[in-house]
Symmetry: C2
């Protein structure tokens, strides 16, 4: 292994390094997981990736792909050392094919940049994680990211037509085609989406794009209980509404937000549901009215149509992640137990359980998230310099994960498993996990691709 | 093997048989593929399926699952003999969970029956293959079926949340959950969808359901050329319209239809595009107007809003499959080369090539299909008692498949590969097929599940 760095340099020049400072920079993502790579390499094309992976395969050295490092589960952290592949430099937009409703890009493209480019043509790429100004589309695919709009438009998985993937043996394959639909063999594309770099390294992606809606409307409805809010969501769905966003901010979240900014444009008198509908002027007006009717149990309902007014409310919604640190400088948000999901009907029960768990642990908890697809973000915050509090938080997060599974849900709805949630895979999947392990062994027999992740 | 029938009878009583007449009944589907099973078994639950598969595994006997036998590629034909599993008797609707927008059913449920049951609650299961009054949902899943409405609602794949599957070793696993979204490991559900019974036997399915739209409008636009029609489709998409159906009937198809029924409610003066939009009264009215504008190159545009008027036009569209046999009693439609797909922009080129191929072969060809997702059904018809004509047809179908691949398309957009199209898999997928083979070997190492299919 002594000369692996020399071999890597022969392949990519000074885009390969083993300097300690560089390695340290790549030893973490946005989660608590840590792991130092032995080498950092920044390939610029599929051929380089292929050569690096072949080299790693010959020596049995782990390869961990990484986009922007915004992950919340340690997915891109090289916990077994080896080679860290920084793919953020592969950021070309390769093809814009509007007639066929698709684009081809390299994995390092940031979604907001793609959306700027698409906007002038009247299209967009719908998945919108909170990190869309900084994450990479490669990371979104590896993770099956989603966000607010997936309640209408689906997750990243639903927008990928084809991937160019470097396999563990260095071969470069395509998983799909330019076709919007096909019935010709196994769905390799969707097997790769969400596999978190354990089955192959994505070097290009063909994405389906969607026409931008012409109008939006936002309905902010405040409810006496989260349960009443959830009931209104179900009623709106049953009435045939497919909102383009359907968010919940519980009263604790609102309280924290109002302390950060007392002039917030949000009703503060209960648990808040934000519905957004998009389409034409007329259809959104009609749907907003229907939603108002579905919210008969609300304390107050406000319909926003002005662009600025809506932007103000969404800006407040986006504040949530950052709000905590402004509440008390001694408290930090820890991303554990933060991404559970349950069937929609179970959201009120889940919120009640999270409340009890947090209370018993003496940890403040904001509950917010994408209620329209059952995804609850529980934000727990503690003094992270206090070891006791860490222990309490870990136990609380564990109980939140188990509560979600108990309600027929998932330990991660959109942030991924990585290392942070790997130990729940057996419990969530039962023998399904054996099947995943068989697939992993078949496709990466040496286990060099992102080892230690997904509980495989 | 002598006593396999006795063993099968011990498991399921007289629902296992080796009578020649029964075996013959199960030796075909709706394609030209033929293969006689050695045994026919009609299991009624997952435990029975599991026991049968275990027994087959011990003896290395093939197991081929079958729904209603409406497949067009031989997917359910037991070409290597062994056990034919008739799953049509497993047809219970297990759970209707409207709040969580889902149902759980057994694989033998016929989609039209499910939709009757859902209709009274205001919901539907969108995938709508032409055979939806007789096929099974298990078959639709195995095949990733779709139909007219998938241009808006997606294929079967997009509506499956969880499958109960009996694996090759007899284990019963779940591939998903009740969650509408999840990011927790490999997407086993979508790996199973479209795998045509080669990876496991589906014994239950949890499906996402969709609220029924309140209104529909149909726009029938007649164009001087198929190219002008395709251009209008692209323009409508770019204007932000997502039609709930977008069909093409070329002038040959219209000619055949008009000979069957001279009073047809369709414009007969060119190549016809049928757009349907659904939603509210207002939004469909708005969108119909926009589509009309996108059809500026049309010879004529007619907007239908009355339920009867629309039903009349769709009835004519549905006639297409059957029309041929009424044109000339000596000609039969042969399902070869009938399901190719290309990127939308390539549809005019594909139509022109199919025309030339058919002309050169001296075979009449109707070209119709789901232009909105690039899926063209080429209907070739010959005197099937004439061996020469068979040869000419097979060569023409081969050229159609190769033309689709040449245009960046697929040999099957919704009917599946089965045996009929297995030989194109290598050409369509390249090394991707090796990956499918690795997965098949890992999950069914003995190769007992539906052997000989998908070119694996």
């Amino acid at each position: 292994m002594m000369n692996l760095i020399d071999d890597l340099r022969r392949l990519v020049g000074d885009r390969a390094t083993d300097s300690s400072s560089e390695r340290l920079c790549y030893s973490r993502d946005a989660s608590q997981v840590r792991g130092l790579p032995d080498y950092v390499v920044r390939p610029l094309n599929a051929i380089e990736v292929s050569e690096i992976v072949r080299l790693a395969g010959r020596l049995g050295v782990p390869v961990t792909p990484r986009g922007a490092g915004t992950g919340l589960a340690g997915g891109a952290v090289p916990i077994k050392g080896g080679i860290l592949l920084d793919l953020s430099g592969m950021d070309r937009m390769l093809e814009l094919d509007l007639d066929d409703l698709q684009v081809q890009i390299e994995p390092g493209v940031i979604p907001e940049r793609l959306n700027w480019a698409l906007k002038e043509h009247g299209f967009f790429f719908p998945p919108d994680p909170g990190s869309s100004a900084m994450c990479t589309i490669g990371g979104m695919i590896a993770n099956n990211a989603s966000g607010m709009r997936c309640v209408k438009y689906g997750t990243t998985r639903d927008h990928v037509l084809d991937l160019e993937v470097v396999m563990a043996d260095g071969r470069v394959i395509h998983t799909g085609s330019r076709m919007l639909k096909s019935s010709a063999g196994y769905d390799l594309t969707r097997l790769m989406v969400g596999s978190e770099g354990t089955l192959g390294i994505i070097t290009a992606a063909r994405l389906r794009i969607t026409p931008l809606p012409r109008a939006r409307r936002l309905i902010a409805a405040s409810f006496p209980t989260a349960e009443a809010g959830a009931r209104a969501v179900i009623e709106a769905f049953s009435a045939g509404i497919v909102p383009s966003a359907c968010e919940i901010l519980d009263r604790t979240t609102l309280m924290v937000l109002s302390k950060c900014n007392p002039n917030l444009a949000l009703p503060m008198d209960g648990d808040l549901i934000l519905f957004e509908v998009d389409g034409s002027e007329q259809s959104t007006a009609e749907e907003a009215e229907q939603i108002e009717r579905a919210c008969s149990a609300a304390i107050s309902v406000r319909i926003a149509t002005g662009k600025e007014e809506m932007e103000e409310i969404w800006a407040a919604r986006r504040l949530v992640g950052a709000a905590v640190s402004r509440l008390d400088p001694n408290l930090s948000r820890v991303y554990l137990g933060e991404d559970v999901g349950v069937p929609i009907s179970q959201i009120p029960t889940l919120i009640a359980r999270v409340e009890r768990i947090a209370e018993e642990a003496g940890i403040p908890a904001m509950k917010y998230g994408h209620i329209g697809d059952g995804n609850l973000h529980a934000a727990l915050f503690i003094d992270i310099t206090d070891e006791d509090r860490w222990g309490a938080l870990e136990r609380a997060a564990d109980r939140i994960h188990l509560a979600a599974l108990d309600l027929g849900g998932t330990v991660s709805a959109e942030h991924g498993i990585g290392l942070a949630r790997a130990r729940y895979m057996e419990r969530q999947w039962g023998e399904g996990l054996d099947l995943m392990r068989s697939i992993k062994r078949a496709i990466d027999p040496q286990g060099i691709l992102n080892p230690g992740k997904l509980g495989l």
